[in-house]
Amino acid sequence: MFIPVIGLEVHAELLTDSKIFCGCSAEFGGDHNTRCCPSCAGFPGTLPMLNKRAVEYAIRAGFTMNCDINKLTYWDRKNYFYPDLPTAYQVSQLYLPLCVNGKVDINVDGEGSKQIRIHQIHLEEDAGKLVHDDFNNVSLADYNRGGIPLIEIVTEPDFSNADEVKEFVEKISLLLQYAGVCECRMEQGQLRVDVNISLMRQGDEKLGTRAEIKNLNSIKSITRAIEYEIKRQTEILQNGEKVVQETRRFNENRGTTSSLRSKVDAHDYRYFPDPDIPAVTITQAELDSIREQLPELPDTRLERYIDEYKLTPVNAKILIADRAISDFFDEAVKSYNKPKSISDFIIVELLRRINLGELDANAIPFSAQEFARLVQAADEQKIAKNNAKTTLRYMIETGDSLDKIAEENGFWIKEDREKLVSTIDKILAENENVVAEYLAGEVKVFGYLMGQCTKALRGVCTPQSIKKELEDKLGKLK
């Protein structure tokens, strides 16, 4: 029996406006080589200008993962040739990384809570991208991505299966989103995962030989790659053979991993302190101020939603899964203190619209206050439930206010008492026979009368007041 021992290196692109060492835009995409300058294209004579915001973001990330922050930090050059690396060295951190000794708790179904130790988080630059043109048989370099700030989160080898890894990657994605430092869109390469994996025999103290699987860019790939690799290494060991220390790549189509380079061909990166970037000292006051700016983190929120707002754990988890939604929920609750109503309306109605792609959680076209008013109106039956849903749809489609939509469509229930009384009187008079049946004890005909009244009084009064008035009147006739 073999026990898998897994460690991760997670690269996350930081959300800064500009690149880590120059003023170029750090936004995703753009035409090839339009977001680069002499500096991030590595032209002779250019020098790096460290982006302070990137340092701040990396520290924020460190705080969310309970790291210690090194108050003196500097950058090292990692030297290797690759055409997407303009200077032929990546500015990274080896000797004195920004964040060290962190920990993140994860919960795996059926396993309970487990703590994953973070070895370090360092701040470095991303490389460019190669575009292979097989038709013309050339490779082209696009340096738009070169110089986008990255953090590399290095864990201890604390995982023993793919589920734990999946849970961890989802957890840190959430933490980074809450910290406002990375949107973690794996499909855009904002989060990339390298997995180190080895097997050891039960009872062994020494770790087995590990393989590193590079650049996994979806949770699904991570899970499949780990599962495949466990299978592969198990077979090797069972056959009495040895696992080779090497770097492997995952083939998504086949669901298998294959060798990229062995340890013999491993690079000697010749790290040394970058003489162009002065060491950075960070004061306690700066650290305090960065910590103060951190929002409430997802674990704390989850607890609050369950304990204070009495939401179900399932619903609470849905809300915190997107910081924008969770923020929206909190704002709405502030102006209408019925967390359950707000939560239900968000989960059933708003998230449905978001999942349908009708709107973006980060760009909701109305305020949380306006949304809260809609939920309250529905709760208090100032607007019928179905009309409330329609109103939300119109608010999304037109951007118009609740008042305007409800007014124009006659959604408001006006509670016109005079009309209520006269209408019920009129209906009772028109249905003498039915009333008589009711009075004779045939109570189920109440539904018919109620139906008639509701139909005639739509938009005038709430069903509650109609029912009350109808009951009162029938009672008096007894």
Binding site: P44, G45, T46, T87, Y89, S139, R270, P278
Partner: protein, 478 residues
């Protein structure tokens, strides 16, 4: 009157007084360069046409009373400093056709002031050594001794092709040849002048400075290029002072230290005698001479070359034949492209240093070489600090010998006196203090405290006032 025998500040006066137009000055220099440069030669690229345009702009500015210190002053720039639209080769085949898309910061500063650029001067490939023996564009002859190969900016000032040149120094690559050409030269404190746009040689030693006829001219030149630059984060935010502030100050009571290591076996007697005789003259001016010691001098040469070559190996890695510079032909793979381009374009010295640099940075030797060199650098800095507790300036020879240097090892050893102040990031000024039997000038260097260029300029100027300079014999009185 021969305009080309004037000092920079004399030209300034004449321009300001309207005695002469900038155009006349530039024409005179262009004519002299036409006459003499063929025998030396100093230039890789001449920019006469641009110079004449700049001259007429300068004449307008002067007429409008809008002239700065360098408006209309002709200069030559070492060809490792980037000039937008003007070829910048860094002395090598690799960048033979490289036209920078941007100006170095010091070029922008000179352009703002209206200085006139006569051309780009010869140097060793990427600034490796100060002899042009490693230049792809041939040797430049020292006007004092044609057997001495020197850099274009030093020979050019000596030959009167321009009143001042701007070049970079790393471990004596500018100050040593300037001394051999009988010129004054300043390498300011590391961080005093922006390196942005200086094609990197050894980043933690590279510093832009100048060569001129005397210390006073250097003070004016330095004033024009010094100061913090956001594009070079290793540049100092320290405010620039008036570098002429101490010119003319009495030396009474000034403490001049002579570290014994600079006057030992490593230095030729003729050189020592000349410098000690200058020391004696300082004593006569009222200065106190004190003997001190910099014990880590023993390791100055290996320390310099270990750090410099490590940085060079990394700095030169970007020349892979892809984005700029020389590209080998008949390439069918990335590896071949890099190998062929670098093999064909780099000179022997560059290759030697890349190999040495990669060796000292490799994981097997990092601790034994690179780390130790960094430790010596720290030690040397603190030894200099200790010495400056009891003195104002330090007086040393500039070169170890008073003859052309032959061979690699001899050339490495020849920076014994020039390297320490560069390693310790201190400012150093060089001026002529004698002539050898072979007619070659002998230089002395005055090292100052960090950012105290004004004092060493004042001390050098005091000596120059009583010193009779001899014009270079090779020019035959021209």
């Amino acid at each position: 009157m021969d305009i080309t025998k004037l000092k920079l500040r004399q030209i300034r006066d004449m321009l300001d007084n309207g005695q002469i137009s900038c155009k006349e000055i530039i024409n005179a220099y262009i004519e002299r360069i036409d006459d003499l440069d063929g025998d030396l030669p100093c230039f890789i690229t001449r920019t006469s046409e641009m110079a004449l345009e700049q001259a007429s702009d300068a004449d307008k500015r002067i007429a409008n009373g809008d002239a700065g210190e360098l408006t209309g002053i002709p200069l030559a720039i070492s060809d490792n400093i980037c000039t937008k639209g003007v070829k910048t080769t860094a002395g090598g085949k690799m960048l033979e056709d490289f036209v920078p898309p941007y100006d170095a910061t010091i070029i922008s500063r000179l352009n703002e002031q209206g200085a006139v650029l006569l051309g780009k001067t010869n140097l060793d490939e990427m600034g490796m050594s100060g002899s042009t023996k490693n230049s792809h564009f041939g040797n430049t002859s020292n006007p004092y001794n044609s057997a001495d190969s020197t850099i274009g900016s030093a020979a050019g000032v000596a030959a009167g092709l321009f009143p001042a040149g701007i070049a970079a120094d790393a471990g004596g690559t500018m100050t040593c040849p300037a001394a051999n050409c009988g010129m004054a030269s300043i390498r300011p404190t590391y961080g005093r002048v922006s390196r942005y746009g200086l094609i990197a040689n050894a980043s933690s030693f590279d510093q832009i400075g100048g060569i001129a006829n005397d210390a006073h001219d250097l003070a004016i030149l330095l004033g024009a290029i010094a100061g913090y630059d956001e594009f070079d984060r290793t540049s100092s935010t320290k405010a620039t002072t008036d570098f002429t502030a101490k010119i003319g100050d009495s030396l009474k009571g000034m403490k001049i230290a002579l570290p014994k290591e600079f006057y030992g076996d490593m230095v030729d007697d003729a050189v020592k005698e000349a410098v000690l005789s200058a020391a004696k003259q300082y004593e006569e001016m009222g200065a106190d001479l004190i003997e001190v010691s910099i014990p880590s001098m023993e390791f100055a040469i290996p320390t310099y070359y270990i750090i410099a070559n490590a940085e060079i190996s990394s700095n030169l890695a970007r020349y892979d034949g892809i984005k700029f510079g020389y590209r080998g032909e008949d390439i069918d793979s990335y590896e071949q492209l890099v190998k062929r381009s670098r093999t064909e374009a780099f000179g022997d010295e560059a290759k030697r240093r890349i190999l040495l640099g990669n060796f000292v940075l490799s994981s097997d030797s990092y601790k034994d070489y690179f780390e130790k060199a960094l430790a010596v650098k720290q030690k040397m800095m603190s030894e200099f600090t200790d010495v400056f507790a009891s003195c104002d300036v330090i007086l040393t020879p500039t070169n170890t010998v008073n003859s052309p240097v032959e061979g690699s090892v001899a050339s490495y050893n020849s920076i014994y006196c020039a390297a320490p102040s560069s390693i310790a990031m201190l400012p150093s000024i060089t001026t002529t203090c004698g002539y050898g039997d072979n007619g070659m000038p002998i230089g002395m260097s005055i090292i100052g405290r960090r950012f105290d260029e004004a004092t060493i300029i004042g001390v050098a100027d005091q000596f120059e006032r009583g010193f009779n300079k001899i014009l270079p014999a090779l020019l035959g009185g021209r």
